[in-house]
Amino acid sequence: MPDPGGKGIYYVNGKSSGFLTVYHVHSKESRDIISEDATQPAISPDGRRVMYVTISTGGRYVGRNELWVSDIDGSNKVKIATGEELSTGTWGPDSSNLSFAEGTDARSKTYIVAADGSGLRQLPLMGTTTIGGEIWSPDQKSIYVSTLGKKIATFDIWRSNPDGSNVEKFLDNCASVSDADPSGRYLLGALYSGEKSGIYEVSVSDKKCIQLLPGVVTFGAIFARDAKSFLYALASPGG
């Protein structure tokens, strides 16, 4: 911006940085596992690995991301993909496969890949809008993908085989899916904004979308290991 006194122009220059940190609840110890500007962590179901994206904010790589997988202690890093506007997805139930998305516009792409980076494949485009969550069925024979619905702040849910075949519109105007119960009969999801925000459940057999906890605004809910409960996080005042 120009100096009001006419002495020249002001400008800002800097560099972002950051860490990905793991907190061990029982020992109350925190440890930086990734010394880069990283975000969107997703812990594997077995708790042993984490995927995340790193953000490049300098030079000619502005806007480009990398998607990585590492052990939960930050070791054994594997670069899965490089692209623009990459976002982490979810892990398959056996922690051997994962999903991620590229792009946030109307033609976002969803990919499936093994945790070692092999077997990368793109799922067919589903719907015409931005992708929400994508999850595996417990038997790993189906993948559910949520895409922004025609109604404001809702998501349509699609189902396909992991190889991208048999794509079908599963449900209209529901929530962004985040987990499936071990029986495969129910999905959990969330709506993040709007008057219908809350945690939702999908009954797979009768394709019903049921609001469970209205007004609860969270990124998603996951079943606890014993599937007798589900867990969700809310920001406390101040963080």
Binding site: Y10, V22, P41, Y186, K228, Y232, S236
Partner: protein
């Protein structure tokens, strides 16, 4: 950050949500998407700690 547990059985809620864990420090919940995740057994939380620096310059002509 507080993590809640909602008991659930066969598609039906059982009782009211309970606090499962209160994280004893603050961290951002959003940073270019979700900035945290927790394991299903609540033993581990991974979160982003964005940082960086910015300098203000005055460019003038002599």
């Amino acid at each position: 950050m507080t993590i809640y547990r909602q008991a659930w059985k066969d598609g039906t809620l059982v009782g009211a949500p309970q606090i499962a864990l209160k994280v004893p420090f603050a961290f951002p919940t959003e940073y270019q998407g979700n900035a945290y995740d927790f394991s299903r057994d609540l033993s581990t939380i991974v979160y982003a700690r964005p940082g960086g620096h910015a300098d203000l310059y005055l460019l003038s002509q002599k």
